[in-house]
Symmetry: C2
């Protein structure tokens, strides 16, 4: 692997041609879906699952997502690659101890949706270079191992942050993981990542939650309000099903970016409200036509 | 038909066992999709298309959506049922002349997304009882005859407004039309319809347009902002592709309801912003969990 040319330590990947031993920490939608395709496509030979929820453990075993379950330390002891697939607050909580244990043939990777707070937590850690902060941009509004599905990541973007702060072989290992998932690699600084995802992911969730709350509020007086809900409502409100355990810490840890996007969003929303209140046909037509440029991005 | 028991005029439907002659005014997504299934399922024997756009006319003919095209007066002269499938402002413009020509074996029906302004426009018309205001709650973000598709209306809600102001046989004819499209019938006063759709349809479009504008604004500085856009963004921004010609008049004619929903929406949005800005974990978790109740409505 030419990427490893400057690195004297052989990559964990290079050492396991029959597939790696993988520890998946967090047997939810993301960890479970990764496990399915990483095994099926030969990246992982053995998958050890870690989850504090016994029901997640039992389900992941029953569904064949993992070969065995273990506690975090035992799983890490045998793993070539430790994949942290838990919400951002849980990642922050366990990352230091995982890094304390990591050895120089081992790679640690996380998939959390905010990255700055993660890289700052272990900026000074002596083993920092064995860690690769990443974010596969895929998901559904469902959670848990029963939501895991094959192909979830195909053709989506995988972001790897601050790559110059990780060992080349560690980055190569994680790139091979995402290549196995058929993902498109994007490299980006953690700070910039957080600003970008505030725009194209986090704010979508806030406005979807808000739409759901608004109509649920109205349902108290108008029992039948959802009788007429059509496909448009469903697609806009779909994200409002997303897990509070996952999204609360994301909103907390991307606070500054999100507040600034919400303010920009609110300016545009008030512009719409004013044009509607004034019945300004030309202004409304112009604003909607501007919004229609999203067709360029959303394929048609 | 028992519904016609109290009505001395035989229904237009009853008189045409081999299918009606249908005038479809507006050869777009809705008119075109209705034409496909109404013919295929035997409701219409002959379909005459009316559209002021020659490209729509030619396309509808080429795709076989209609048998022929004609101008409005000529089409109406031969039709058992005149279906107005144009935006709400165009419906308002042509409805009076259509009503002036209607005879007592003929039915006129519209499908516009706001209903109060429509029924008020012809409240005093001597032929008011031949008109059935309706709203099939289905659509996509695409427009024009090339967007027409079979099955668009299956299992969705069809709203018929102020039925007591229409002749029984006219209502029965329109109900049979929607039953042919496999729609679920909902009866509602026009005023209440407009309030309901402000919540479950119109506001979804406003927030989707607004999201699109917000991220498109940002793209001026951050060219690659859409690189990371994932499924969540696409589903929330999908409606922002919707036609300005259709949605501008909807926003104008449902102004009061929409402004009131946007204010309720904005209150909830500001609550979210405050909790995020304050990093209030418990408050955010509580608010998201409340929004999660939308699962009850959105099937899972």
């Amino acid at each position: 692997m030419s990427k490893n040319a400057g690195n004297p330590t052989p990559s964990a990947v290079d050492k396991a041609p029959g597939g790696l031993t993988l520890a998946v920490v967090g047997l939810g939608l993301i960890g479970g879906s990764m496990a399915i395709d990483l095994r099926r496509r030969g990246f992982a030979r053995q998958i050890i699952g870690v989850d504090r929820d016994p029901l997640h453990q039992a389900t992941a075993l029953r569904l064949g997502l993992v070969d065995e379950v273990a506690d975090l330390a035992a799983a890490q002891a045998r793993a070539d690659l430790v994949l942290l697939a838990v919400p951002v607050d849980a990642t922050l909580a366990i990352l230091p101890e995982v890094m304390d244990r990591v050895h120089d043939r081992q790679v640690v990777c996380d998939v959390a949706s905010t990255k700055r707070v993660i890289v700052e937590r272990i900026r000074q850690h002596p083993h920092r270079r064995r860690f690769v902060p990443s974010h596969p941009m895929a998901g559904t509004e469902f959670s848990g191992p029963w939501a895991a599905l094959s192909g979830l990541f195909d053709s989506k973007a995988a972001i790897i942050c601050d790559r110059e702060q990780s060992d080349d072989d560690a980055v190569a290992c994680v790139e091979r993981l995402y290549a196995t998932l058929n993902m498109r690699m994007v490299h980006m600084q953690a700070q910039r990542h957080d600003m970008h995802v505030a725009y194209v992911s986090h704010v979508s969730h806030v406005i979807s939650f808000t739409l759901a709350l608004t109509v649920l509020d109205k349902e108290r007086d108008e029992k039948a309000i959802f009788d007429l809900a059509s496909g448009g409502f469903s697609s806009t409100a779909r994200l409002a099903k997303s897990s509070a355990d996952m999204w609360t810490p994301i909103f907390q840890h991307n606070r500054e970016n999100l507040v600034s996007v919400l303010d920009a969003y609110n300016d545009r929303l008030q512009e719409f409200r004013r044009l509607i209140a004034e019945g300004d046909h030309e202004g409304l037509h112009q604003l909607i036509s501007e919004a229609n440029h999203i067709r360029r991005v959303l394929n048609g």
